[in-house]
């Protein structure tokens, strides 16, 4: 995926390898150390994540951002059929520990 490099922007665009683009709040994406590093180092990465998974990842970013300070958070719904692939993506993005305090 590629991160747009207009630094002052509040938003980040994630592009999947099949051309889907997701515009997200920058603050919401920093939950992923991987993306955080991409943004900081001003590098561009492209990764084999298709729009279907990236959509879920983007949904998770928003879900995390919305709930980052709440105590009792309902679980996000994960479709069973993309569970394993999403797990790989989550691992790549470093979303394995709850990093509500990293932001």
């Amino acid at each position: 995926m590629a991160a747009n490099r207009d630094e002052p922007s509040k938003y980040v665009t994630l592009v999947s390898n099949d051309g889907f683009e997701f515009v997200l709040l920058r603050e919401a994406t920093v939950v992923s150390p991987t993306i955080k590093a991409m943004l900081r180092d001003d590098r561009q990465w492209r990764e084999a994540t298709t729009g279907r998974f990236l959509e879920k990842v983007a949904e998770y970013f928003q879900y995390w951002y919305k709930n980052r300070d709440k105590l009792d958070v309902p679980d996000m719904d994960i479709p069973v059929e993309i569970c394993l692939e999403l797990l790989v993506a989550a691992d790549y993005l470093g979303l394995d520990m709850c990093s509500s305090r990293t932001a």
Partner: protein
Amino acid sequence: MSRQNRQGRSSIRGPQSALTDFLASHNISANQIRLDADARRRAAQNNPGQVDPNQQDDGSSALPAAPTDTPDEIPAGPAQAGPSRTRRSAAETNTHDDKRKKEQQKVIDKIKASKKFQKRKRNADDSEDEDDLARAIFQQRSAPLPGQIENCANCGTRFTVTPYSRSAPDGGGLLCTPCGKKLNQDDDLPKKKKKPVPAGGPIGRRRQLQSNILDGTYQPGSKSLTTLCIETLAKNIDLAGDLGDLPWPVVDKIARKLSKHRLLNTATLDLFLQPIAEEVYIYDGAKLSADDYIRVFQTVPNLKKLKIRNAIHFKDEVMDYLISRHIDLEEFYLHGANLLASSKWHEFLNAKGQSLRSLRVYWTDKHFGNDILASLPTTCPSLNRLKVSHNQEVSGDGVKELAKLKHLRHLSLDLREHVHSDIYVSVLSEIGHALETFALSRVPDLDNTVLDAIHNKCRSLEKLRITDSELMTDEGFVRLFNGWENKGLLFLDLQKCRQLESSKPRENPDNIGLCSNGFRALMAHSGKSLRHLNIHACRHISAEAFEEVFGFEQGKIYPELQKMEISFCEEVTDFIVGCIFRSCPNLRELNVFGCMKVRDVRVPRGRILVGVPNAVGMMIEGEDDDD
């Protein structure tokens, strides 16, 4: 009408209640009472203020018709007038109509004034007209009584009203049984489609939250995506054929999650056996058979680290197979393998002991004893971690032999047999200088000599645990920590080192256990480096000692401390808890079970306080930011 009544009396015979039986034995007929009441009501309906002559024929209504002042006995609308009305002349009907309207108005006024009406008006404040509401209540009350004949509002057939008769959906009259059933069926259909309410609700969720806190898995904010995925996967594990090439930590997490739900069985075990792997961690082997364990060794030829909990079927034949293979384990963790004979342990250690660096054996009763510990120095020369936990066989003779394990770095013992302090002292004097972990659980007879030996010998200790000692004194702990040439500890567990004297529980003349001075000395020595401190039930530590140690104003800061357990330290107050949170900036969890002086603490954001004795529960999660 009287004939109807009499017919009813002879033909309706249902099961009788105890009251009916009782009344019958006193020559009172319940049925008669009911019929009388019915007749009175009907008379009131048909002919307010005038007694029906038929009733007197019946000989049952000694009382005159009840006046229509109670809302229960109200004149009915035209539909309920009943057949007797037709017999009357038109003129009579007109006067009756006027009268009835007046009566009706009276009752409606009364309904409007009633409490019930006021309440309902408050509830249904959506612009409903007052008159309409009162009329609705009126209609409801004046519905035909059970036992009466009525025309069905839907199909028009005549039928007997029962308590189960349904009212028509539009509110106009009652329905006969077939029509009512039809309506019931129609109603049921959308009900079934309704989504089931998720279990729990607010109370269930709160319970789950508390459970997570006690498990130590609680996190404020949302769960990580990996956790969410793993939970979904664990719920649908039977659909997974292969985990693919997921990285090891993720696979391990899945294994833990599955074991927690007790889902690890013959079928799901295959997901975790990757031929190229070097480690297999089975967190719950209760459902696995001996063949499954053999399969582990067949599929994973490069196995180096093996951990099996609840390894009930790890039997002799499994050990035989392991010995026969070219597998040289470096780490071996076995929990609950009671079917493994002592001779097999010897065989295994003789054959495979050379490569073994870590041996941890939990929950065995008979077959892991002194002779095995005695053989360790020769069979496992490079052993550097040994843990024997919940063991009923090992005694002092076995522990004595551990002094010969020159490479030992980590030693944890939780034995049931009595071992004298002198034996520990001799072991420490031999291998104490290199030990990084020294953990002795449940040692009531351990005394100050062991503390002195630790002070004199140990130089690289990071983790120390001595629990349940009833002989060690405050002075002993002071001697241990004052001027100890060991660097600061990372983990310290001194729980339940306290005086146990039930006749004089408050007095502690000999300062047995960890008391104020020992606590000051330990925090002075290791406070800066400690990550985990457990002084559970060290109840003679005074409030002054706590306030002094955690004196934020005096610049006492403990940056490393993450988890602290001070339950049953009786002197802990709200103020001390506040001090602890201020002086330990990275403290995540503080346990204060049984600290009855803790009442109402403001917990900083993101910290967890467990065990507050109040009705809210066992935890307060901070609402306000401390800084």
